[in-house]
């Protein structure tokens, strides 16, 4: 027995469908789009309830965040955001960035004054001295101004560095830790800056054990979806590090996402990151096929080839990193990739490959070529995540092998100047994340935030792809800017295609799921530089309305 019909009216519905571009009304029944057109067209299906609350708004297909990490939700649940970048929290409130140490100390004092248990550590995340003005380290001297007795632990945005106060140094016995990542002043005393996990580990275990992975906390799933939903996403990808193969974690995830009011769909990649061997990867992925629910699905298997460009650990082709000529680190050995990639390919899995720099991408392309030569597969939709230094040659090889990509367009805004000055130099920075070339050559590309690395905000990501502007206002590689329409397609249909879900989501078309994003203004009509500032009124997921604020 079909359910009741709701017709949503809008000032304009942008369908992103290849055949029918615009409408004013969409009829929804049982979470599925029944009709798209005007009110009369929708009325052809019989009695309906007209929902006019978005009559003055613009309805677009639900925005899709194509690469993010559940860790974002855990951080919101377990720690206070105190970073320099503006971020919306799970309540939909804008947390303004704290861009100098004085502001940071003030904010931490506020938080500290509200804490009742005097022994509870104060744990924060998101700090990034490189984005502060002035650039200054965050040491125990600053944090001791907040408290000398309560342990304080601040995880940096990179997740590779932490700043702690004297109380944490004492409780974790840093006097006895010789790891070189424990920075010291001239007298030999620790400064409170801990670089890399070997230096951070005793502090993490002593005062922030919550941050260690594997938590089954229900709030992480809700927060993860909610932060994305508040910025207009209806689907968000959990990019592969989570342990859904662990029964306790899976049941926590299923229970959390099964709630009627769970605010977004999660598409989770299978874990090819912490699972060591191909046999286990395939076994776990196969066991999870079809194990999800309406809001949780498993798709693709994520593998990591190299590190991060801003951390100087991406694998570059010559001449390497600017100035030093050095290169980054492999996450898996190329010799292993030459057997792992074909094994996953042969098992019928879709491979999602983290390749930050160009040599990693080249290696992946080579491995897929081996796999395709041995066992050709059509429509596998293997795709590269980040692919920041892809060029026309690599993209053309990708086209011939059927490999697609989601680009890290946000990098240009947040780290464009850093890359120009420290990692890649002028040319390679201008050529980063080449969305226009990729689209022209027929690669299906999306773009992503990689939250918690940068904030999940699909309109901001879309804006980055369309404008390629740094935070300082410099345009990098104007030829690689895409039109607002193409940028919107990247964040909707193309993302759905990468997730093998373009038959269900990614455009507004009869028969697809009723996932919409409601905007105050038309992103295709406003100046492209204004797109990121368009207010999000809310989302509709499977016909159910979720307010933004």
């Amino acid at each position: 027995m079909p359910g009741p019909i709701t017709v949503f009216s809008a000032k304009k519905i942008i369908t992103m469908d290849a055949s029918v571009e615009e409408a004013t009304h969409v009829a929804v029944r049982d979470g599925i789009i029944l009709e798209v057109g005007n009110l009369d067209d929708c009325g052809a299906w019989g009695p309906y309830t007209l929902d006019n609350r978005f009559a003055d708004s613009i309805l677009i297909p639900g925005l899709i965040e194509s690469h993010a990490h559940l860790l974002d939700g855990l951080l919101w649940a377990k720690a206070h955001y105190v970073g320099p970048i503006d971020r919306y929290d799970p309540a939909g409130t804008l947390q303004k960035g704290l861009t100098n140490n004085a502001a940071l100390v003030n904010r931490l004092r506020e938080i500290e004054s509200r804490m009742t248990d005097p022994t509870k550590p104060l744990v924060g995340w998101g700090v990034d001295p490189s984005l502060n003005d002035p650039i200054a380290p965050i040491t125990r001297l600053e944090l001791d101004q907040v408290s000398k007795t309560r342990p304080i632990f601040l995880l940096h945005a990179s997740c590779h560095v932490a700043s702690v106060n004297s109380a944490t140094l004492d409780v974790a016995n840093y006097a006895a830790i010789k790891a070189p990542g424990v920075l010291r002043d001239a007298s030999g005393a620790p400064t409170g800056e801990l670089r890399e996990m070997a230096a951070m580990l005793v502090a993490v275990r002593a005062v922030a054990a919550d941050m260690i992975g594997g938590s089954t906390d229900a709030a992480q799933f809700y927060n993860f979806a909610r932060v994305a939903q508040a910025r207009g996403a209806t689907t968000i990808v959990d990019g592969g590090g989570s342990t859904y193969f662990d029964p306790a974690f899976l049941s926590a995830a299923l229970a959390a996402t099964a709630a009627e009011d769970f605010p977004a769909r999660i598409v989770a990649h299978n874990n090819g990151i912490t699972v060591p061997g191909a046999d286990d990867m395939i076994r776990f992925a196969k066991a999870l096929e079809g194990k999800g629910n309406d809001k949780l699905a498993f798709q693709g298997i994520k593998i990591i080839l190299d590190g991060s460009n801003q951390g100087f650990t991406g694998r570059l082709r010559p001449p390497g990193y600017l100035g030093s000529g050095e290169n980054g680190l492999w996450n898996r050995a190329p010799d292993e990739l030459r057997t792992l990639v074909p094994a996953l390919h042969n098992a019928g899995l879709q491979i999602v490959a983290h390749c930050n720099a160009d040599q990693a991408a080249e290696m992946f392309i080579e491995a897929v070529a081996l796999a395709q030569a041995a066992k050709p597969r059509f429509d596998h939709r293997h795709f590269i995540v980040h692919g920041q230094l892809l060029d026309e040659s690599l993209l053309r090889r990708m086209v011939s092998l059927g490999i697609h990509a989601t680009l890290f367009s946000n990098h240009l805004y947040y780290w464009g100047e850093f890359h120009r000055a420290h990692t890649f130099g002028a040319f390679r920075t201008a050529a980063l994340n080449p969305a226009a070339t990729a689209l022209r050559l027929g690669v299906v590309v999306s773009a992503h935030s990689d939250t918690p690395v940068s904030p999940v905000d699909p309109l901001l990501t879309l804006w980055c792809a369309a404008n390629r502007v740094s935070a300082t206002g410099r345009v990098f590689g104007p030829r690689e800017r895409v039109s607002a329409y193409d940028a919107l397609k990247m964040m909707t249909f193309n993302a759905a295609y990468l997730l093998h879900r373009d038959h269900e989501i990614g455009s507004i078309r009869v028969g697809k799921r009723a996932d919409f994003t409601i905007l105050a203004r038309d992103p295709l009509a406003v100046d492209s530089m204004a797109i990121r500032d368009i207010p999000v009124h809310g989302t509709i997921v499977g016909g159910r309305v979720f307010a933004a604020g």
């Binding site: 830790i177 790891a179 580990l201 005793v202 492999w330 898996r332 010799d335 040599q359």
Partner: protein, 305 residues
């Protein structure tokens, strides 16, 4: 001073022979409880007869050694070992084939109960030169070799002597100061030569430090418990591994009339260590007579206590 567990990192590119080395060390360990942290149990091939029990992430051997899976967090696995009440005498970490062993070695200094002993990098005599020129991994293979306190050449039994010699020469040229051993004589007794220096008299700290700074490159490891003229009321602990060394006073006081013999053990790679040069290094350290002033001091100290 709480006894620290020495940690050795075993590095080297994928397929270099790390696991073979570890299997062998585990099987042949005697009177020493080794704990080995490996990336993948599947590749460890421990003789079933040696296994006494197995639970989840740990395989217990009859000879007291354990083999543990690193899982997805090396630091946690290592700290777990450090905090076991019946902790091991020595920990060996199998670094991943693409890891920079120097970075992994930072974990050996990430806990108060752990101390970095040395970095051993395994290189396949048959393939290491080609790997070092590979466009994808050449820089990594060289980085790994350069991080080594000792390089163990594996598969020297399946390449001919000429190739073996050429590889050794190549490593010595490419990695200045490299210390080399071959794995076919990995049995400790054959692979390493031990030289012990002893003295019944306190040593001159300045002379000892100068000797340590000038030790021949072939000394892989040295350790000692010494009594120094400058700190006669306690023992000092000497540690030397690769290019690093330390000489630090022990916290426990030692009575002036207690036995105060100093012992320093140096371990070098068989066939390459120059024993005469080593002896010459320590010649200036071992005093010929006990200074009269020191005798007085010791006696006064004895009277005070």
């Amino acid at each position: 001073m709480t006894r620290q567990i020495p940690v050795t990192v075993i590095g080297g590119y994928l397929g270099a022979g790390k696991t073979t080395l570890l299997n062998r060390l585990l099987a042949e360990a005697q009177n020493v409880k080794l704990a080995v942290l490996v990336n993948d149990f599947g590749s460890v091939n421990i003789d079933a007869a040696l296994i006494s029990s197995r639970d989840g992430e740990t395989i217990n051997l009859a000879n007291g050694c354990v083999c543990c899976s690193i899982g997805d967090n090396l630091g946690l696995a290592l700290h777990d070992l450090a905090e076991r009440p019946d902790g091991p005498d020595r920990i060996l970490i199998e670094a991943s084939g693409v890891a920079d062993p120097a970075k992994i070695s930072h974990y050996a200094e990430s806990h108060p109960r752990l101390a970095l002993d040395s970095i051993v990098v395994v290189a396949d005599a048959e393939t290491v030169r080609a790997r070092a020129d590979d466009k994808y991994v050449g820089d990594l293979v060289r980085l790994q070799l350069a991080a080594a306190d000792a390089i163990v050449l594996s598969r020297t039994d399946i390449v001919d002597a000429e190739t073996c010699r050429a590889v050794r020469t190549w490593i010595e040229t490419e990695i200045p100061g490299a210390r080399l051993a071959a794995s076919h004589d990995l049995d400790h007794g054959q692979m390493f030569v031990t030289r012990t220096f002893e003295s019944e008299l306190p040593l001159d700290g300045a002379a000892l430090r100068a000797a340590l700074a000038a030790l021949p490159a072939d000394v892989v490891r040295a350790k000692g418990i010494v009594r120094l003229i400058e700190a006669p009321d306690r023992h000092s602990v000497l540690q030397f591994a690769g290019r690093r060394w330390s000489l630090e006073p022990d916290t426990a006081e030692v009575g002036p009339l207690e036995r105060n013999r100093s012992v320093i053990v140096c371990i070098g790679l068989a066939g390459s260590i120059d024993l005469a040069r080593l002896d010459a290094c320590f010649a200036g350290v071992l005093p010929s007579a006990l200074p009269a002033a020191l005798i007085d001091e010791l006696h006064q100290g004895a009277l005070r206590s």
